[in-house]
């Protein structure tokens, strides 16, 4: 639970509410869209499998100190949705006295719906102060492909772990059961991240949650082994590590750590393709953008 704090200087209160409904025979349509800058969508694009693709925009170019952003996505029963960003999410330096920027995200996926959330990396600039809370609720038969990538900073200019605070929480609930939870608070100036107890020699971290509620439990272990074979092939110690584990129920998580960001997106695409085929018997359709 994030507690809003009063702002010394008023900043953006962005809001984006999206609702997707399934229409017979196979199309998904965006039926409700409430938006308040800097969050914005332009339109939904139909994919050839009937899903709706939406690009999430932040028209201010990034998250500014003190911003309070809310994203709400409701994927109706049998609807299929793919969400992506238009570029990396830049978390700008917070000016002194401003409260942390806050992003809250609430997702619901109705019965037999599917959400594929495939954003670009999160890049916290030096001095950034940011809190993010995400809650995802999956109904019976619902599916989820959800990845996120965290960069150490503006790596091209040698910036690593110079942000002030990065607090990220994530809860995934499937048919009323909490199946995955993250509680991460990173304050590099207080607790060095390069420690072997935290990031070790790596700088980037990625997580990819793959869920389908009520899929046969034993098959998750088989899928874990299948994806672990891919992980072994993609792992290059010192450069990038990949690991897979089943969740307590209804899914598995792919986790990666890398010394650079280049290997992560291609790897995530590889796992997405394999898992989509295993879970749905269908090809993954990458968003129309360059990876």
């Amino acid at each position: 639970m994030l507690h809003e704090q009063p702002l010394k200087n008023e900043r953006s209160k962005g809001l984006l509410r999206l609702k997707f409904d399934h229409r017979v025979p196979i199309n998904t349509v965006l039926t409700v869209c409430q938006q308040q800058p800097p969050l914005q969508v332009v339109r939904a694009f139909p994919l050839h499998d009937g899903a709706a693709l939406v690009h999430l925009h932040n028209i201010s170019g990034g998250v500014l100190g003190g911003d309070q952003l809310q994203l709400s996505v409701d994927v109706g029963a049998h609807a299929r949705v793919q969400l992506t960003s238009t570029g990396a999410t830049r978390l700008y330096r917070s000016r002194n006295g401003l409260a942390a920027a806050i992003q809250t995200t609430e997702i619901t996926v109705g019965s037999n719906g599917l959400l594929e959330y495939l954003p670009d990396p999160l890049i916290p600039f030096a001095g950034a102060h940011y809190r993010q809370a995400t809650r995802i609720e999956l109904a019976a038969g619902a599916g989820l492909f959800w990845w996120d990538i965290l960069a150490p900073g503006r790596a091209a200019r040698g910036e690593q772990f110079e942000y002030e605070l990065l607090q990220i929480t994530l809860d995934i609930v499937a048919s009323g059961q909490l199946i995955a939870s993250e509680r991460v608070k990173l304050q590099p100036s207080l607790r060095p991240l390069a420690s072997p107890g935290r990031f070790g020699p790596y700088r980037y971290v990625a997580s990819f949650y793959i869920c389908r509620v009520d899929w046969v439990a034993m098959r998750w272990l088989a899928l874990e082994e299948q994806l672990n074979q891919l992980a072994r092939n993609l792992t290059r110690p010192g450069d990038v590590l990949w690991g897979i584990s089943t969740l307590p129920a209804h899914g598995l998580v792919v986790r990666a750590m890398s010394s650079n960001g280049r290997a992560l997106l291609p790897g995530l695409l590889t796992f997405w393709r394999a898992a989509k085929l295993a879970l749905y018997g269908q090809e993954a359709i990458p968003p129309r953008k360059v990876y």
């Binding site: 639970m1 607090q167 809860d171 995934i172 059961q177 909490l178 199946i179 995955a180 939870s181 993250e182 509680r183 991460v184 608070k185 990173l186 607790r191 991240l193 420690s195 072997p196 107890g197 935290r198 990031f199 070790g200 020699p201 790596y202 971290v205 874990e224 672990n228 992980a231 072994r232 792992t235 110690p237 590590l241 990949w242 690991g243 897979i244 584990s245 089943t246 969740l247 307590p248 998580v253 986790r255 990666a256 750590m257």
Partner: protein
């Protein structure tokens, strides 16, 4: 001799590394890190300090919350919270082998204690979790037992943390060139970190400071452990 002395003896036995619950079979991901050269002996102490700050505080928190369940009078509420607590902790453990290891130790620990002393509340906790197919984690079982035996709360949490770290150090003695004297020195020097981790959980806030845990490198070691070609440990 007082009743308190008897309780201290109970706690010493329950936190003894020789307690037959199977703790020596698990490295919780450390075997992967050592096998791949990512955790050399000269960085072990630093690693353990950070591990205690992150995972120690989290497990200390869940241990303490489980301890305080005993203060609730309504048995139905206790069992609901007990199951919720263990479900939450399962969700926070991404590495399957480490999660299963924690659940195996917790279940065995609870059964072992019930074999030593029949305590209806502990029996209910065991049955409720088995019936609901919910894991019983080691730290929550330890806390619940500590409360049920009316052991001191802070000492219960500290004893859990101490035996956890002692178990990791013992695993490292089998994985790396770490002598007994060196291992004892590390365990001796890390005690202030254990105190700090236990203190951070004193408010029992499952969304508070101690609930945050960032050990992605260790988690990944646990997730990749099944892929090691030669393994001494089950996790």
């Amino acid at each position: 001799m007082s009743d308190q002395h008897l309780k201290q003896l109970w706690l010493m036995q329950l936190a003894d590394s020789a307690l037959p619950v199977g703790a020596t079979a698990h490295s919780f991901g450390l075997e992967t890190l050592v096998a791949e050269g990512e955790l050399p002996v000269d960085r072990l102490e630093l690693f353990l300090h950070d591990y205690v700050y992150e995972a120690g505080a989290l497990e200390g928190l869940f241990c303490r919350v489980a301890y305080r369940l005993n203060a609730e009078a309504d048995g139905v509420i206790i069992m609901a919270r007990w199951l919720d607590l263990n479900t939450r902790l399962s969700a926070l453990k991404p590495a399957r082998e480490s999660r299963v290891a924690s659940a195996m130790l917790g279940r065995r620990f609870l059964r072992l204690v019930l074999g030593l002393q029949a305590i209806p509340r502990l029996q209910q906790a065991l049955q409720a979790a088995l019936h609901a197919h919910i894991d019983i984690h080691y730290c929550t079982a330890f806390g619940l037992v500590g409360g049920a035996l009316d052991l001191d709360e802070a000492t219960t949490v500290l004893a859990y943390l101490q035996q956890t770290v002692a178990g990791l150090i013992s695993a490292c003695q089998r994985l790396m060139p770490l002598g007994q004297n060196q291992a004892s020195q590390i365990l001796w020097r890390i005690k202030p970190a254990l105190l700090d981790a236990a203190y951070r959980s004193h408010d029992c806030d499952l969304e508070g400071d101690a609930s945050f845990c960032c050990i992605p490198f260790v988690d990944l070691g646990g997730m990749r452990h099944p892929s090691l070609t030669t393994r001494l440990f089950m996790s």
